[in-house]
Symmetry: C2
Subunit: 229 residues, 2 copies
């Protein structure tokens, strides 16, 4: 209150976490102006980008950019299940214990690429704060969704001699059901979010992110408005 | 030497430092296969990309990719002189003392973006080593061409749970004349390298990188084969 309004860049995939984060940044943190950035990297679930557009409009951001970084998908296709044309997306139940530290749905260095671009964009506009909806998962995990990743990334960005940008991941230790609850409290319309990695017409209900999403809604005591196969 | 051949990714701009680095990695370090990566980010001096192609062929790399990341130039144009359509490139002599820590030719977070992409590409191919021709300059400087930058970047990449990539900048503390000498010893054809930020038909001779290049050749006691305005 009386605090000067802070501008922000928000990484917006169109999934649950980043959609709730966007509304949180706009309506709870009162950042303004807010710039949302989404990326087409050749993901199977391109449907998420339409959801990103919907949420950006609903939140009333100053600008929403969807950048074409499909060269990234081209460069890493052989090593990930998340890019169209790569190996198939496994069911969570079929994911070997050994693979849960870096499952096939991991996209090589994707998050560092996207955050670097967001930081470049922020720096050029004099925006100091980039928000990132990373969540350290229990069931399976990604090294680039951890607090250590964010902390060390900020060590790099902090070396900037003029306009150092900081990456914030306020949901990193929250349980996904708490993120859903935060979204419900903010009135986020979850029918315009997309998670399923398989990217079909309806969500599959069995891939790692569907299982996680369904569980989160169940734990939050709310129905998931998405249709499932 | 009995040491197993190591594959490598080399960031290749087509300038003096990265061109010498490429030949150094191929012929002195005996890395194989070597993948070269160049980037079109909307730089004024797009001529450097033709030089990059020439050097990659001369070095006999396994693959040379020129990725279109012009969205980066679009995102940061207002804040840099290096992108076509941005503010004009200043002469080194006209660069205020105060601006030498982050001169107008600095491109917001460009190097982190390009290195992140190179690391993604390397990781997806099982390549552990990315080479980067950064040189910490005396006359003016960039935070993302320093040992601290590379060290902290490697702290981030080192968190990868499977295939951690390491960025190497073997020329970071070398004087540019020593890089030129290394290139001369390796028989690098400097008539196929491009430095001038202004990107005209001939090099201008007065922008920061031209001044630096001319001085380096003078100190190395060799003529610079490029025509100057």
């Amino acid at each position: 209150m009386g605090r000067e309004a802070t501008s922000a860049v928000v990484l917006l995939s169109g999934g649950v976490d980043s959609s709730v984060l966007l509304h949180h940044v706009v309506r709870t943190l009162h950042c303004t102006p807010v710039y949302a950035m989404s990326f087409d990297y050749g993901q199977r679930h391109k449907k998420e980008l339409a959801c990103a557009r919907w949420q950006a409009e609903a939140a009333g951001v100053a600008e929403h950019r969807i950048l074409d970084v499909s060269f990234l998908g081209d460069a890493v296709r052989a090593a990930t299940a998340l890019v169209a044309g790569g190996e198939p997306v496994p069911d969570l139940a079929a994911l070997p214990e050994d693979d849960r530290d870096q499952p096939p749905t991991y996209v090589p260095n994707r998050n560092m690429v996207l955050l670097s671009i967001a930081a470049a964009y922020a720096e050029a506009r004099g925006v100091r704060d980039v928000f990132y909806g990373a969540q350290a998962r229990d069931e399976y995990g990604y090294w680039d969704c951890t607090t250590a990743f964010v902390k060390n990334l900020n060590r790099v960005l902090g070396l900037n001699r003029r306009n150092a940008v900081t990456v914030h991941a306020p949901f990193v230790w929250m349980k996904k059901c708490d993120t859903v609850q935060t979204g419900l409290d903010l009135g986020v319309d979850f029918s315009h979010t997309w998670s399923c990695y398989r990217g079909g017409d309806t969500a599959c209900g069995t891939c790692p992110t569907c299982v996680e999403r369904l569980l989160a809604f169940r734990e939050a005591g709310a129905p998931d408005p998405l249709p499932y196969a």
